[in-house]
Symmetry: C2
Subunit: 584 residues, 2 copies
């Protein structure tokens, strides 16, 4: 059953029309009324995502979302299109089963046509009625509130409601990010390459295989979206582009990697962006609590501000470091992470910046962790505030997901989401000439009965601050090095590229020991795991020798790869060489 | 007439007492009730400032203010003490004419005693009933709201009212910042040195003269407070430490200057602080409006982000600069500020960062301004984000005014505020052995009938965002280099040293031609003014030759002195030499 009052849409010119083709102009129509109207609809209806993004290029604004709320799956549909942006456009429409003709007939505004055509295409491409996630009426309402907020000037003296909503990240609605994605493997097809995982690793291999080798490629991912851990989307409630699995900053020292990621003419532009963050340092001083916010990794400013010093040159900084560093025992070298850290930054910085953080991150005291954990903790001997020092640092202008979508948008590439490799392993081993496995290596060899590798997971807590037009944090990411909070860091996505919103969204991270249900994030760096991984590696290499499978990526190689592209581009080149031979 | 319901105060232990000496404990008393109670008082009562700060050291928190609202001047008093801080303490009290005994009798909390004793002293020291400024009931209310906000967790899901209030800076209540300040010259006294102006210049001279030379010193200022343009105070409505006349960042290359400002054991500590700011750059790109926030002065990050470059080293930066710089004509050199700017940063950066700003700042196109105006525009060939490059950069922990108060707190120094030199010129010329004049030089020689020097003034617009716990700007100061807004910059004082508040305060600056009513801020750098100033200088030097007067400081020397201390410390040393002779 479709609520007829929803069969309307509203655009910025204030017209408010019946969706059935007739149009009536209600110029005084306010957003609040629409909100109220929407409320009267039955919120219990299941929400189905149109598995297609509105094409970013054709819309005047980057911010968009659209959903299909089916009455009866695919036969009776209500579509809500909401294009939220810098206060320009808010469109609701609801449609019946004859979706395509309706859209053609009724939405004529040229600016919307491309969006709507996309929507039509994507709706037609809808191959199964699989239900994705419930859409809460609250989330729809707050979209409207967000937009309404932009129409009422905050400066008019009117008061808006500042409020904070806390939730965990599982409440999110996750669009697939890829219009052509399918949700079932076409069992009639054969493939040259099958990438297990639509993250950076799988996507790079898929794109290269299709474009350079002309191969037929299948990409499958257990998650309902592309992009792997880099996946981002426009937050429903605040209109902010945000990641789902923690913040990701692209950085590379290698020109060919940069050239590669920026080479796709259909992908949105990348924007130079130099990541920087502060740490929130708590301490007792002269009997009273003090909080300082200082650059992380520590640079000259950090040291001067925390320790009341006046270091002014890299030479002075290095000299000062030498006076505080505590060398490791000559006989043994640094045997644990505490010794290693102190040998690099001395007692005071270790205590203020590294000790508590390490404990929270690994749930172990640094003295019980491998020296390798702190072997590369950075200290910057200049005023350079950047988090990374790589030459190329950037963010994809319209988000990572849009970039992945452009990379995967190739006639030779099939993308199948919400599909676990292990449910189709024997089939895929038959129809795939070569498999690129980017999932956890211990999962692959589960039947061997070996122990599991230990991972750390991240618990995300989302804090939405409504009617808070500014920023909550002093920097896009704030680290919490101390034990006064369980959080390891907070991310305020709105600060990336400084996209405006009347609200803000802060995602706080806690580290925990990932069980079988959680997502594996960081491999635990200790001897047991290194030895165990080595055993898995032996198994993997044996299989790789057949030429039928390759284990790549963050999870398969059991390493946090700072720049996945680097590795995968290199690996890809090796495969390219093989591929070219095949073609010739 | 005193409103009896106001004769109460409230402290954090929830006790709510009658102020007349009896005390009744009302534990459930909410802040809202107090607020409501206060409202019922007669807001029409005149507000009189107790010309005394609560001593910063004795209070547990830096934030304080107190006022006297007289029924009949000085005979019937209602005192409101409000100690606002990080949510710890909010105290209202109202008292009758017998102020001192009341305070003794009723406020016993040890933490308050010093504050109250100060208040008593200052009230006793009240020498005249001069009315200062009206206290608006709204301002009192919002103090309460501010505190109430801290008691209700913003995270409880309750909604608070986010609202914006806009005002010009004249609405502020200005505490003198100095408890021992007087408001009338003691005509019976003689002085070795009389400093006209209680700004940096006058204060440094006064302190040195008193402490090193043992001189008797008079400091007078036309304004009702000490500190000159550096004056700051705790904003009544938001609880934020803020400047009244634009933001001031202490920075010096000279160790003896740093040693000097940090030498006073009674002054609060200085905190290292490295100023940084972004510019908000608007431009059209590929047909659409774009806004970027980039570091100012431009450094490598600025250039890379604006122009899609990947400069990575100082050498690359300098090389790139050479390719864009437009050399000035060889015969003439740079003849105006436009040529000069382009010769330093090239066409593109000039347009994006300097042209519009210069036009707004001086109301003249760069081509009509002296080359000197842009001769020192900085370009940073590194990733150093600091606004200044000086070795010592800091903020006084409890504010500039507290620092000035400590510097002036000397038995030999009399401070007289709200008193214009020219109303007492002939008297002072008789009783002062030497006069240090730090006011505008053209005002001093007014009777000569010469033309006036041209100054630019700053129009401040204050925006208070209530119930906005984060920051409104991406950096403490945001520059607006373009012509899309009249503002030249905005300052968000809360970001300095990251002091928390449930609200925020942004002060926006516009530049205008200062008439006789405005404050002179920036001397206009053109030929007419330089020539005119030279004439004034001749007059000044003639007078200075008598040894009876010295013209120093920002206004008297008609230069914006980046580091006033530097100059004045040097000058002071010359005088010290003379002084020592006198003592020997
Ligand atoms: C919190 C965090 C922050 C990071 N930040 C940065 C950063 O700022 N910059 C940077 O360069 N790197 C960063 N990294 C590293 C970065 O995440 C990796 O380099 C990159 O995402 C790895 O891509 P991937 O494809 O190997 O793995 P993933 O992105 O994890 O992709 C693997 C995919 O495989 C799928 N999969 C797994 N098993 C199966 C199965 N059985 N069947 C089907 N699909 C399966 C998963 O669902 C997943 O989508 C970060 C990592 C983490 C954890
Ligand atoms: C907006 C702005 C921002 C600045 N920012 C910085 C900064 O970040 N860092 C920095 O180092 N410098 C900064 N400066 C420069 C800094 O303000 C000066 O170096 C310093 O404040 C000068 O002190 P002063 O005592 O010479 O002048 P002032 O501070 O102007 O003091 C002069 C005093 O004399 C008084 N006076 C004038 N005439 C009379 C009279 N007839 N009778 C009695 N009293 C009189 C005035 O009321 C005033 O209080 C800034 C200047 C401005 C205008």
């Amino acid at each position: 059953m479709i609520c007829s009052i929803c069969r309307r849409f509203w655009d910025r010119r204030g017209s408010y029309r019946e969706a059935a083709g007739r149009s009536t102009s209600v110029t005084e129509q306010t957003i609040d009324q629409i909100e109220a109207d929407y409320d009267r609809c039955n919120p219990k209806q299941a929400t189905l995502f149109v598995r297609k993004s509105v094409s970013y290029q054709t819309l005047p604004t980057p911010h968009h979302c659209h959903r299909v709320i089916p009455g009866t799956m695919l036969s009776s549909l209500m579509v809500k299109i909401s294009v939220l942006s810098m206060g320009t456009l808010c469109l609701f429409s609801s449609i019946h089963s004859n979706l395509p003709s309706y859209i053609k007939a009724d939405i004529a505004a040229p600016v919307l046509e491309p969006a709507v055509n996309n929507l039509r295409r994507s709706t037609l491409a809808l191959t199964d009625g699989r239900r994705e996630q419930q859409e809460s009426p609250a989330s729809l309402r707050s979209q409207v509130t967000a937009d309404a907020m932009k129409y009422k000037s905050t400066h008019s003296g009117e008061s808006l409601s500042y409020r904070v909503e806390i939730s965990d990240s599982s409440e999110n609605v996750l669009p697939s990010g890829f219009s052509k994605a399918m949700y079932q493997i076409d069992k009639s097809k054969r493939y040259d390459t099958c990438a297990i995982g639509a993250g950076l690793s799988g996507t790079v291999f898929a794109e290269r295989s299709a474009n350079v080798l002309g191969e037929d490629v299948l990409v499958i991912d257990a998650r309902p979206h592309i992009g792997g851990n880099c996946y981002d989307f426009w937050d429903q409630k605040t209109g902010i582009l945000r990641n789902q699995y923690g913040s990701h900053l692209f950085h590379t020292k290698m020109k060919h990697v940069w050239d590669y990621v920026t080479s796709n003419p259909n992908a949105p532009d990348w924007k130079r962006w130099y990541h920087y963050k502060f740490g929130e340092i708590h301490r007792d001083q002269k009997g009273s609590k003090k909080v300082d916010y200082v650059p992380i990794p520590p640079n000259i400013m950090t040291v001067n501000r925390l320790l009341d010093l006046d270091i002014q040159t890299p030479e002075e900084m290095d000299e000062w470091l030498k006076t505080v560093q505590i060398p490791c025992p000559e006989e043994t070298g640094c045997v644990n992470a505490e010794q290693m850290a102190k040998s690099r930054v001395g007692e005071e910085l270790y205590k203020l910046i590294f000790e508590g953080y390490t404990i929270k991150q690994w749930e172990k005291h640094p003295r019980d962790l491998d020296a390798s954990v702190t072997a590369r903790i950075p200290v910057v001997s200049s005023f350079d505030p950047r988090y990374f020092s790589d030459k190329w640092q950037a963010l994809p202008g319209e988000g990572y997901t849009a970039w992945f979508a452009a990379m995967l948008d190739h006639p030779n590439i099939d993308v199948v989401l919400s599909t676990d490799f292990f449910d189709h392993k024997s089939h895929l081993e038959q129809v795939c000439d070569r498999i690129i496995y980017t999932g956890p290596i211990d999962r692959y060899f589960e039947q061997e009965g070996m122990e599991k590798l230990e991972y750390r997971g991240i618990k995300f807590t989302e804090e939405r601050h409504f009617n808070h037009p500014g920023y909550l944090l002093p920097t896009p990411v704030l680290n919490y090095p101390g034990l006064e909070t369980n959080y390891t860091r907070s991310i305020e996505y709105k600060q990336y590229l400084h996209r405006p919103s009347p609200h803000t969204l802060v995602v706080r991270e806690e580290s925990y020991s990932a069980g079988s249900d959680g997502d594996p994030y960081y491999p635990v760096p200790n001897q047991r795991n290194r030895e165990l991984y080595a055993k898995y590696q032996v198994l993997a290499e044996k299989l790789e020798a057949t030429g039928r499978i390759q284990f790549v990526g963050r999870l398969a190689n059991y390493k946090a790869i700072d720049n996945a592209l680097k590795l995968f581009d290199e690996t890809a080149e090796a495969r390219l060489a093989r591929g070219r031979k095949k073609i010739q």
